[in-house]
């Protein structure tokens, strides 16, 4: 198995899928000549040419709509948001059109497209460039939402997203692009809607995805020194959500901490916490604890930004709280 970065893993997925299927193309700001604002599309213009690696004007609603129309008539577009914060400009196209067309047309037209790019708080980017966008979209039936946390998952899930027949919101992370991990040699995919146990444990389940996954794993390591064995579950796909695996883990550990980098109010963690309470209430030895981003925009100042997002210390404290230590 090769050890590569998250960025390279995404690049490999794009390259392999474009080689496999001529209907797949990539469209977005700076994806071609500049090779991607975060270099995810490095080298793709050279291999596939400007017909399939398409630089767009700064025009998110416009080119997202173009992707929808192209998908309706048989292509498989990948639309890149330079950062997912900009997807808000295209929300009408994503929510009112992409997510609804299959339903409104009574199943006649589907929209097989991927809308991808980085999201989440990162590197002092402040309020408008530093939001976790998954909660904005997870409310919408018709969208699938993926948030990979490792290079292996990033590659396998992106390949599945590209082959999926529905619109997929695929949110990467600026903070993860440079992280490294083992990626299997040869062709593989990871199905959407299948969670993964990233670390086995028996005392508490920590549900965490994307950048929060790394924090959860660090916290688990620290807890182990105190004899507490945390199981870390990575949903990977938020919609569809693998509730079975999450609930199975809770039944084993009887305690749950749910993490997310976005604001906790109305967030993904609220939903996962609620599902755990509904489906595993009898197995819980303590109320579900959530570790979330603060209910404030992301500030610029380094110390304030640090306070905005969950920390390892907060995860450790949450685990101890559900263990009543």
């Amino acid at each position: 198995m090769a050890i590569i970065t998250y960025r390279e893993a995404l690049n490999q997925a794009l390259r392999e899928e474009m080689r496999r299927d001529p209907r797949v193309f990539l469209m977005g700001e700076e994806v071609g000549l500049y090779q991607g604002a975060y270099k995810v599309s490095q080298g793709l213009l050279e291999e596939f040419g400007p017909k399939r690696i398409i630089d767009t004007p700064i025009s998110e609603a416009g080119f997202t709509g173009v992707g929808i129309g192209a998908a309706m008539v048989g292509l498989r577009p990948i639309v890149e948001m330079m950062t997912f914060n900009f997807a808000l400009v295209a929300v009408d196209q994503i929510v009112n059109q992409a997510a609804k067309i299959l339903y409104m047309s009574g199943g006649q037209y589907n929209v097989p497209m991927v809308i991808r790019g980085p999201g989440g708080p990162a590197h002092q980017l402040a309020a408008q460039h530093s939001q976790s966008m998954e909660s904005y979209f997870y409310h919408v039936p018709g969208l699938k939402i993926v948030r990979p946390g490792t290079p292996k998952d990033a590659k396998g899930l992106l390949k599945s997203a590209i082959r999926d027949d529905d619109p997929v919101i695929f949110i990467e992370s600026e903070l993860l692009y440079g992280t490294k991990g083992e990626v299997p040699d040869g062709e593989y995919t990871i199905p959407l809607g299948v969670a993964d146990i990233k670390r086995e444990g028996r005392d508490v389940t920590i549900v965490a995805y994307s950048t929060m996954l790394l924090l959860a794993l660090q916290a688990a390591e620290e807890l182990e020194k105190e004899g507490i064995f945390a199981e870390v579950v990575d949903p990977r796909t938020l919609r569809p959500l693998d509730t079975e695996l999450i609930i199975g883990s809770i039944k084993k550990t009887n305690r749950a901490v749910v993490m997310e980098s976005g604001a906790g109010f109305g967030g993904i963690g609220t939903v996962i916490g609620e599902i755990i309470s509904e489906q595993a209430f009898d197995y819980l030895d303590a109320p579900v604890e959530r570790v979330t981003g603060a209910n404030a925009p992301t500030p610029y100042a380094k110390n304030l930004e640090r306070a905005k997002v969950p920390s390892k210390e907060r995860v450790v404290a949450a685990v101890k709280k559900v263990l009543a230590i």
Partner: protein, 323 residues
């Protein structure tokens, strides 16, 4: 453009008549409570969809706004399935899930009615993009109202279409009111076709009450798109005789204005023209009326007989795997 054969002229007349009688029946059915929701009638604008769509091949694409019954019928949709959709029935075009504002018909390359003003413009542009990408010579007609030109996506889509040489014709049906707001109160430059200049795209105005004029103008633009990959913007100047929707009494315009516009009823203008040219006789017109009324009655019968969609359908078609 070539002179039309007798049959083609009669087909245009039949098409406009079908739209008119179909929608008059829709109004009746709405009053009876058989059709719910919003119902935006196309009455007065029939010459635009009829003339424009008449130049297309069956594999060309059409996309429209929420006032799209006429476009669906002109593209070939079965009137029975359209009516059943308006009735919210299982045999409707979209299984009763779309309704008046969301008619889609994949077999006829109709990409749907879209109910967010201008929301369909980039999507139609995407269909044209796909034709370009796959090296096919299909053309897309993208219909919208006058109010849509003030939305951001209108600008974004036309910029992309011109930049990428996409085979699309944008047809703005200027019926002079965006809901209750007159064009002059909403749009800084009243000649909407001039917007095309901003994108280096041919822009033209046409009398939207004259089906042959629309046909000719759109025909040239479609050929330009098909052969030369030059997108166009056409402003069809028309008028809607009814309110914005069935819920709108239309008090923002005077009776005199509406009466005056009705003098230019596109259906009657065309019928009179064909009679003056001796293409159709009074007896032909009566026969057409009879035929069209029978089609509409049959559509209502079919819709009435169709069952309500089963409740399980609430959860189907959300995702392809659950189709």
């Amino acid at each position: 453009m070539q002179k039309l054969e007798h049959k083609e002229l009669v087909d245009l007349l039949r098409q406009m008549l079908l739209m008119r009688r179909f929608e008059e029946k829709c109004a009746e059915m709405y009053a009876l409570g058989k059709i719910g929701g919003f119902l935006h009638l196309y009455i007065g604008q029939e010459a635009v969809a009829t003339g424009a769509i008449s130049v297309l091949r069956p594999d060309d694409y059409v996309i429209a706004s929420y006032r799209e019954h006429g476009h669906a019928l002109a593209k070939g949709s079965d009137p029975r399935k359209v009516m059943a959709e308006l009735f919210g029935r299982a045999d409707g075009l979209c299984k009763g899930k779309g309704g008046s504002m969301h008619l889609f018909d994949k077999t006829h390359h109709f990409l749907g009615g879209h109910a967010i003003v201008a929301g369909q413009i980039p999507i139609g542009t995407g269909a044209a993009f796909a034709s370009q990408y796959e090296g096919k010579d299909q053309v897309t007609l993208c219909f919208f109202g006058d109010a849509a030109v003030n939305q951001g996506v209108f600008h974004e889509a036309l910029n992309l279409a011109a930049l990428w040489h996409l085979p699309i014709v944008y047809i703005c049906e200027n019926n002079r009111y965006g809901m209750g707001t007159a064009v002059a109160r909403a749009t800084s430059v009243k000649d909407l076709y001039r917007r095309a200049e901003a994108y280096g795209m041919p822009g033209e105005a046409v009398d939207g009450m004259d089906v042959l004029a629309v046909r000719e103008c759109v025909g040239l633009a479609v050929e330009r798109a098909r052969r030369e990959r030059i997108p166009s913007f056409i402003e069809a100047k028309t008028y809607r005789f009814r309110g914005h929707s069935m819920a709108d009494p239309g008090t923002y315009r005077t009776k005199e204005e509406v009466e005056q516009e009705k003098q230019r009823d596109p259906l009657l203008l065309f019928r009179n023209h064909l009679m003056a040219e001796a293409v159709v006789k009074e007896s032909d017109w009566k026969a057409l009326e009879k035929e069209v009324r029978a089609t509409v009655e049959e559509a209502v019968r079919y819709a009435d007989a169709s069952p309500e969609p089963p409740v399980e359908w609430l959860h189907t078609d959300v995702y392809v795997s659950e189709r």
